[in-house]
């Protein structure tokens, strides 16, 4: 067996059922093995497409996404996707080709130091120069990617390593002296959190993306049920409780709901679960949750007190800490729901008075109306994917997410161009679910080459372009803070998205009037197969409410969104 075959054998042993990638000189032997072993592989049209697809696949399934790319430019094309996955803790294994050993360090053709370049944006990375290392490196890479706080791992493999003969044996276990992947918690920290709940009068649950990646949404739902308190979430935490849960306030932060942000500012106990206090969610840090005792349930010790100081920490894997927290709470025997009812009603009243909303205007299509309509036309198993910009925030506000792993978005990096390939990867990973992408006329152009992949493989994704002829979110900031100077943000070009779809081999539709949301859209959504739906909306729409940069969460601008 050669090194390339050893790689694929190892992937099989790890249960990998598909790889996303793009060939090139340094990985030709690897691709020859793909050919010979008929290994399932999706050829994207760009390496960035491959890695976002693997990311979407991983977020939708919980499995490790796998990517192949060649050396030099092939590998550097992965960088944005690696950073995106790293910030959002998405498990990936990227196998990149490197020039052959004798050429390393000589500025050879297609040589780039991928080990060095990816060090800051990976959970871990390797440069494999000896075929003997391949099996244990692969074993470790999958173990590291999928345990603890998940993340991307890069394995850069010298070209001659793929050709070298190997006496292949895959290790059964991993031995890393500094990393066990096990994060059991401490009973006394849980007991302290329970005590804090007993003393509290106005508790709030703040659900983060860690709940989704640790598959503990059911424990959080149990907790919410038991305590009978309101629940808010981060952007990545959407789906941890079903959208129709009584007490769920939508997400919090810069464009989060009024009630979420006000409840954070008013509560006296904030149960923060699997979240990292991103600046997008806290607003001004020194005025964040001023009255609250903050309890931080977190796996990654380095997150505790990084941005916001916690009063209590509950360190450990949520799969360990949450069931015990629920058990200990049950053992207390108090009727929490009754005790907190007044507070919950107060918050729900605020939410009812200031829901996410929009003002209708003639027969133009308002973005909120569009997304709400798509949401209505979707079943509870539909996976919504977004790109980045205003449409992303509108999607988070108006699309009802009912299950974990059903709202995929680039939260930490805000990577435009993420959406189309990620939606494609999600559909490949979860073929039983409908997949809809909300994107912008700016974002879609960043990886629109993947329409070809979608069409060629008949991957059923409905792509909704929220088309405002501007880089909307940039325009909003320019409107609010730069005197309406739309510097380099207007997109009044000649691109015809419907024709773009047709040119690449899928159906394209255009909606321009409000009534088409009721007449045409349902038909398009019900059709089989991929489609692009170009929806024209007014140019000057703001995402509201909004916490302006540097302000506290209770200094929200509500605007006309009543």
């Amino acid at each position: 067996m050669n090194g390339a075959q050893a790689v694929l054998e190892s992937l099989k042993k790890e249960g990998v059922d598909v790889v996303f990638g793009y060939p090139g000189g340094a990985v030709l032997t690897l691709y020859d093995a793909v050919y010979k072993m008929k290994f399932p592989h999706v050829l994207t049209r760009h390496e960035q497409g491959a890695i976002h697809a693997a990311d979407g696949y991983a977020r939708a399934t919980g499995k490790v996404g796998v990517v192949f790319a060649t050396s030099g430019p092939g590998a550097t094309n992965l960088i944005t996707g690696i950073a995106t996955a790293c910030t959002d803790s998405v498990p990936l294994v990227c196998i990149t080709g490197q020039v052959a050993n004798p050429y390393i360090g000589k500025d050879s053709f297609q040589e780039a130091d991928i080990f060095g370049i990816t060090t800051p944006i990976t959970k871990h990375n390797y440069l494999v120069k000896d075929v003997k290392e391949l099996p244990h490196v692969l074993k470790e890479a999958f173990f590291i990617a999928r345990t603890g706080r998940k993340g991307p791992v890069v394995i850069d493999v010298a070209k001659d390593v793929f050709d070298a003969k190997i006496d292949y044996k895959y290790p059964e276990t991993v031995t890393l002296r500094g990393y066990s992947g096990v994060y059991d918690g401490h009973e006394e920290e849980i007991a302290a959190a329970v005590e804090a709940v007993r003393k509290a009068e106005r508790p709030l649950i703040f659900a983060g993306g860690g709940i989704i990646s640790s598959d503990t949404a059911d424990e959080v739902q149990k907790l919410a049920q038991k305590l009978g308190v309101p629940v808010t979430s981060t952007l990545l935490g959407l789906g941890s409780v079903p959208a129709d849960t009584e007490g769920f306030l939508g997400f919090a932060g810069m464009h989060g709901s009024y009630a979420s942000n006000m409840a954070i500012q008013k509560c006296d106990l904030l149960l923060c679960i699997g979240m990292r206090f991103s600046d997008r969610v806290t607003g001004r840090v020194d005025g964040f949750a001023p009255k609250a005792k903050i309890v931080h349930f977190e796996l990654d010790r380095a997150e505790i007190n990084k941005n916001v100081t916690a009063d209590l920490q509950v360190l450990g894997d949520l799969r360990w800490t949450l069931p015990r927290f629920n058990e200990q709470l049950a053992a207390v025997g108090e009727s929490f729901a009754e005790k907190f009812k007044g507070w919950k009603d107060e918050v729900l009243k605020m939410h009812k008075e200031h829901p996410f909303s929009f003002v209708e205007q003639g027969d133009v299509i308002k973005p909120g109306a569009l997304i709400r309509k798509v949401s209505e036309l979707s079943d509870k198993d539909t996976i919504a994917v977004t790109d980045v910009g205003q449409h992303q925030m509108w999607a988070a506000q108006f699309f009802d997410v009912f299950k974990p792993r059903h709202f995929l978005t680039s939260g930490g990096q805000g990577t435009m161009g993420y959406g189309l390939p990620a939606a494609m990867g999600a559909k490949i990973g979860a073929p039983q679910s409908k997949v809809v992408l909300f994107t912008g006329d700016g974002s879609i152009m960043m990886n629109c080459q993947e329409f070809a992949t979608i069409a060629d493989n008949n991957i059923d994704v409905k792509v909704v372009i929220v088309h405002n002829c501007i880089l909307g979110m940039v325009g909003q900031w320019q409107r609010l803070f730069y005197n309406h100077h739309y510097s380099q943000s207007e997109l009044k070009g000649k691109t015809d998205f419907v024709k773009l779809a047709e040119a690449m081999g899928l159906k394209g539709y255009r909606l321009t009037k409000k009534e088409e949301l009721d007449t045409v859209l349902p038909q398009i959504m019900a059709e089989e197969g991929p489609a692009l739906i170009d929806v024209l909306i007014p140019e000057e729409e703001d995402v509201l409410p909004m916490v302006p940069g540097g302000k506290r969460l209770d200094q929200m601008v509500l605007g006309g969104s009543k």
Binding site: F115, G116, T119, P120, K123, H124, N125, Y126, L127, I144, L176, R177, G178, Y179, D300, R301, A302, I304, N305, K306, T309
Partner: protein, 166 residues
């Protein structure tokens, strides 16, 4: 700003220094010095890092962020246990017949040694705590210092327990 000396045990693998130094720079930690060397175990490297931080919280971040690196085995804050701290410095000073005797006096007072002499200069070597090294440099600055090389501090705890068992 307060200084702390951390002993970091890492797997002796290619790339490990890249991982450690990369983490330090991207997290914007303030590193005073860093030095690495082999240990009694051939597959373990010990990195000695002196950090200067504003608060305990910041120190905690340095330790926990470093601790996330897969090839970091153990981190011990040696400033918290009783330990012996040393740094090595070599100082090249312009010296001729007229001032060589004076320099030798200074070297003796500091228990340093002269490790090289030429017509125009001497090289002085000193091992000691950072404050002592700062002291000799200050005294020698009255002469013409041509060049200084410092290793940064390393430390060992007192008593029989090694860092790996702490």
């Amino acid at each position: 700003m307060k200084k702390y000396l951390l002993a970091v045990l890492v797997d002796n693998k290619p790339g490990v220094l890249t991982h450690v130094s990369g983490l330090i720079s991207r997290r914007a930690f303030n590193i005073e010095s860093i030095s690495a060397g082999y240990t009694e175990e051939p597959d373990v490297t010990r990195i000695n890092i002196v950090v200067s931080v504003e608060s305990k919280n910041e120190l905690d971040q340095v330790v926990t962020q470093l601790g996330k690196l897969i090839d970091v085995i153990k981190i011990v804050n040696l400033s918290e246990v009783e330990s012996i701290e040393r740094e090595l410095v070599m100082i090249k000073v312009r010296a001729d017949k007229s001032n060589r005797a004076e320099l030798i006096d200074i070297v003796n007072i500091f228990r340093a040694s002269i490790v090289d002499v030429s017509q125009e200069n001497v090289v002085i070597e000193l091992t000691g705590q950072q404050s002592k090294i700062d002291g000799i440099i200050e005294v020698l600055s009255e002469y013409e210092i041509i060049e200084i090389a410092r290793t940064g501090a390393i430390a060992l705890s007192r008593g029989p327990v090694p860092v790996k068992r702490m």
